[in-house]
Symmetry: C2
Subunit: 469 residues, 2 copies
């Protein structure tokens, strides 16, 4: 008997796993805005007349816009994610879903699955390569995405697990990330995603002078914080300004001959280059952002795939974020208590989510928010954020082009930055500067309907998001 | 705050984890007969006056002889393992432990931890390298053992996990097998084991003519079974006769230009060479047996570490054994119903255990037992085995130097072997030949005390072992 878990279609997967009304299905987001799998499964479920599904996706992107119709038709009645792009976000903010969306962080989602508070009936894994028993990896194939970090929890904790792949390889897959022990069925499909949108070709450093000014100041904060020394560990985002911080940090490391320990997070070619040049000993990778990162995770033994659990979960006995020195993070709003909003824009529409924001802020020794003081004619700093995505207690410094605010809890750090001659200002002062330029913004009119609950990484309710009128 | 899980001693680990009377502690056996960790922990527990412990060790070797005193002193009152060497086995067979030993298979142990029927309070992991947060691996360091395959279940399911290492490296360990998310404490100790006894320098093919004759016949069985073709997968042991089978199989693969898929099991340099020569595409390794295997798992991307769960657990949705074509296994006794004993010698004394025996027999398409027809003047084949370690239903062929017995269930296979001119005999006939030479053995006198229960891989009771008078 030649065993195989290969079945012929998404329809057969839905039938064999027993998907029915009321169940929770999960997806991971390594295919990012090129993902075909979430839409494929929902379309099939809708065709089969299944209703009342809860979708738990580590992230929802604009490509997942068809979910709006499925919500309107009652196919999807619950939505849980760590991040939501603007298209679906806007519809949610308009109140199309009866139950509030549940937002978690990357670490919190893994933790809630681990501790059983988030129950998944069926996980659908987009796998850039897999064998017929379900051993799979993101490293190889036309839809390669590199790390499958966020999919581990789904695989390990869902009742049933279906692997969808467009690159079926002979058993056993050689460099397995998620193994057959967790997988029930394998479906070969023509394409799990659009390679051009799964990853960026290259991620580029910003040329915007405001972005460069902010990055330069942030790098100075890193330098004078005292953490930039041998053994330094670092996380930064894939945005142009975040990469500029990395560039300036690299220049300082070169100058002072500093050898870091690890860099982490969504990984870009820029971080790969820094590791290859010897500035970091190891790369811990929960998600690849560009082609160079994918090539590196495939070939460079210093570049390790890690699960969301290992990356950031508070349910783990420790996570890598707990050993992180410095993280560079963004914000749409920061309030005078250093609380950060990354869930909504300044008008209250959902267009983001925590991802690893609150996880890394909580775990790292130094969490630096970088953002322009004014965006779309609206001040960054407000009296109270529209959504508390990351608690102010975990945020250490806010860097804008017009000055740096240090959390009052960090007295010593503030002294160091002042001594270094950096433009440290009170956060109220920064707020005033912004309002002097852009005016005091009108108060956002939100409705009474709670359209989203934001859970903190430990599962407690951090905030709610109301509909926008 | 620089986080660290590093504590100063085994004593402190016992205190911090709250080890107390009545608890179950676990150990893995990759240090084999060079392991210092089990003895170290028990000695400390005894010194601290802790009693009534159950020890769940994946295997007990002769080096663990001090456990006999701990049993006599009431420090250890329960023992669970997959294999037990002759020294401790003899004492158990003499009835020193009140409660029966619980024997499992390698897959069954992992499965019982996974499904919660085997509960571990504190796992002590011998780690050839680790960082201060508990990321660890068996691949590097003076006590390198290669794969840590059997330790994954302990790490993932024990309430508390203590890593003991003699090779503390900077955070984060680069090539992590078991990650910090599962680890509570790390203890640096002078030595976790005796390198000379952890692995063999090299494992060698037998020169014994009887062994070679058996191996030659077994290889013929493989050849004529029909499984020896492209995609062939294979497991064999580290014993000299098992390696001889591998050698003959390799010669046939070379001659017929066959490209196998994977080899598996405890891995020896011989299997590594076969993979490197292209006869196998991949090595799935739950345990390394010699230095060459350790070097290979460290450096060869074709050589993958797998957990016991992935290797053989019936609680996994599938395990690698389920895709295995052919396994070569040993036996101390085989009965006329093809049941195999690997737990006791012919006198009834415990000196072994299933390990992966019943797992691979159940999973593989062709399970071949190789053993001399007479050993220490006693016939291999008996009316009823003293202990049913592997059920006859899962055993396909028994190969001895005097002939080959095929399980009557395998009619087609028997035809093929007969057609090939192999010396196929009825198992009763083989038994008669042995008795004609060695005489009918005296019936073993066992007592009334059950000294061990043998659980099958699915957790059901397969047999019991009585004390020897």
């Amino acid at each position: 008997m030649q065993m195989s878990k290969l079945i012929s279609s998404v329809r057969e997967a839905i039938e064999k796993t027993g998907l029915r009304d009321g169940m929770t299905i999960s997806f991971h987001h390594h295919m990012r805005n090129g993902d075909f799998v979430l839409n494929m499964v929902l379309e099939q479920a809708a065709e089969m007349g299944i209703k009342d599904l809860t979708v738990n996706a580590s992230s929802i992107f604009d490509i997942h816009e068809p979910i709006i119709e499925h919500i309107k038709n009652g196919v999807v009645t619950g939505l849980e994610c760590n991040y939501m792009g603007g298209k679906v976000g806007k519809a949610i903010s308009q109140g199309i879903l009866e139950k509030p969306v549940i937002f978690r962080s990357h670490g919190g989602r893994a933790g809630d699955m681990e501790n059983g508070s988030s129950k998944i009936d069926i996980a659908f894994l987009a796998a850039p390569c897999a064998d017929n028993m379900g051993n799979c990896s993101g490293k190889y194939g036309p839809s390669a995405c590199g790390s499958l970090g966020y999919a581990f929890s789904d695989a390990m904790h869902a009742d049933k697990v279906v692997v969808l792949t467009d690159n079926l390889v002979p058993y056993p897959l050689k460099d397995t990330s998620i193994n057959e022990g967790y997988v029930d069925y394998v479906v070969e499909v023509p394409q799990i995603g659009d390679p051009a949108r799964i990853v960026s070709g290259t991620t580029k450093i910003t040329r915007d002078p405001v972005g460069l000014r902010i990055a330069g100041l942030a790098a100075q904060v890193v330098k004078h914080s005292g953490y930039l020394k041998d053994g330094f560990s670092f996380q930064t985002g894939a945005g142009g300004a975040s990469l500029a911080v990395a560039k300036y940090v690299e220049e300082m490391m070169e100058k002072e001959n500093i050898k870091g320990s690890f860099c982490m997070g969504g990984i870009t070619g820029y971080m790969v280059d820094m590791a290859n040049k010897g500035y970091f000993d190891t790369i811990l990778d929960v998600q690849c952002f560009d082609l160079k990162a994918i090539e590196s995770i495939r070939e460079n033994p210093k570049h390790q795939e890690i699960s969301a659990m290992r990356y950031a979960s508070p349910a783990a006995k420790s996570a890598a974020v707990d050993s992180l020195d410095v993280v560079i993070l963004g914000a749409t709003q920061v309030d005078v208590n250093f609380n950060v909003n990354v869930h909504t824009d300044s008008n209250g529409f959902i267009m983001g989510g925590s991802g690893g924001h609150c996880d890394t802020a909580a775990g790292s020794k130094l969490a630096i928010i970088v953002a322009p003081l004014i965006r779309a004619r609206l001040p960054l700093i407000v009296d109270e954020v529209l959504c508390k995505s990351t608690p102010g207690e975990t945020v250490d410094v806010v860097v804008t082009q017009r000055g740096i605010a240090v959390n009052p809890k960090q007295k010593e750090l503030k002294e160091k930055l002042l001594k270094a001659g950096l433009p440290v200002k009170d956060i109220e002062e920064l707020k005033q500067i912004a309002e002097d330029i852009a005016g005091v913004p009108n108060k956002i009119q939100t409705g009474d309907k709670v359209v989203a609950q934001v859970l903190y990484r430990d599962g407690t309710l951090l905030d709610t998001i109301k509909n926008v009128l």
